[in-house]
């Protein structure tokens, strides 16, 4: 047989294997492996959901804290400078009611004695 003929013979014989490919048998442990993998994936997903919740909650809580602080500081600042605030008005009312303010007569006496 010539080399060319030999090559063609080998190619044909090899292609004939397509019709006689060995069949692998199933694995009796495959189902167990599949079940184990499903459990692993389920556990991993739970963990991932937990991490995601924490990842979202953390910055959200931080944001809320900062906003509350800002509001508190702003309100304190406003209350200390605003004379018409309810607190200021209450203080003034009490001073007037009980004459707690500086009395001109006592002022006269205190200055006379000096």
């Amino acid at each position: 047989m010539t080399t060319r003929g030999h090559i063609q013979h080998e190619v044909r014989k090899t292609l004939e294997c397509l019709d006689r490919m060995p069949e692998l048998k199933g694995n009796p442990f495959l189902y167990t492996r599949v079940e184990a993998r499903l459990r692993e994936l389920a556990a991993h997903e739970k963990e991932t959901v937990g991490h995601r919740v924490v990842a979202v909650l953390k910055p959200a809580l931080l944001f809320i804290l900062v906003v509350v602080n800002i509001i508190t500081v702003a309100r304190n600042l406003l209350n200390s400078t605003d004379s018409t605030s309810p607190r200021s008005t209450l203080v003034q009312t009490i001073v007037q009611e009980y004459s707690l303010g500086p009395d001109p007569r006592t002022q006269f006496f205190t200055t006379e004695n000096k």
Partner: protein, 219 residues
């Protein structure tokens, strides 16, 4: 070899699909037992080793379980299973090729030792015919060189024994397209194998051939 399903088998398949969709674990076990050989053999046709085929088959059944809700019953359950097996096998092939390219790059950069890849059995004496096993290995390696769609068609039709119509269903294409793919796949395999045997005949010339005489003279 997959035989054409009888009417009774089609009904059984449909019932199995319904039980699976309802979350019946026992039905899933039955599905794995019934189809694992087919799935493993399909994966083997793409991946070439039993270990890789079983690893990929495991992923196929995991995907089947997790996505059974998406199975609408528009195709046969077996067709749907084959589609998942083919998709997963191709993904595994691409991942393997990526690893090979990374390894090759690492070798070029001196980042890893040279890995010796298993070679074709070309250390056999030239007058000894290839054993059947070596032919099968050679054939599987040659199929790896085919374009993806030709590879899928030939694996399903020849290695899994599906009819052309079933292959067309799995590949979601026409019968004519499958016939064309198989024709081109065979031609390409002939080319690849011819080149391989030509190279072998130069490296290991047969007695009495011009190549062999030339080598004897040079020695």
């Amino acid at each position: 070899m997959l035989q054409k399903l009888t009417q009774r088998e089609s009904v059984e398949e449909r019932e199995l699909g319904e039980r699976l969709a309802a979350g019946d674990r026992e039905a899933f076990r039955l599905l794995v037992d019934r189809y694992q050989a087919k799935v493993i053999n399909t994966c083997y046709g793409f991946l070439g080793t039993k270990e890789d085929a079983e690893d990929t088959a495991q992923e196929v059944f995991v995907q089947i379980f997790r996505s059974i809700g998406k199975f609408r019953g528009e195709s046969m359950l077996s067709t749907w299973i084959y589609r998942i097996a083919v998709t997963r096998s191709l993904d595994a092939v691409r991942a393997k090729n990526r690893m090979k390219r990374m390894d090759h790059l690492k070798q070029l950069l001196g980042l890893s030792e040279i890995m010796n890849e298993p070679k074709a059995p070309d250390n056999l004496a030239p007058d000894i015919q290839l054993e059947e096993k070596e032919r099968v290995d050679l054939l599987l390696r040659s199929i790896e060189t085919l374009p993806e769609n030709q590879r899928v068609a030939i694996t399903l039709a020849k290695l899994e024994g599906l009819s052309y119509a079933e292959v067309a269903d799995v590949m979601e294409t026409t019968l004519a397209s499958v016939e064309s793919l198989l024709f081109r796949a065979r031609k390409n395999l002939e080319k690849v194998l011819s080149k391989y045997f030509e190279r072998r005949s130069v490296d290991h010339p047969r007695p009495g051939t011009p190549h062999e005489e030339h080598r004897r003279d040079m020695a």
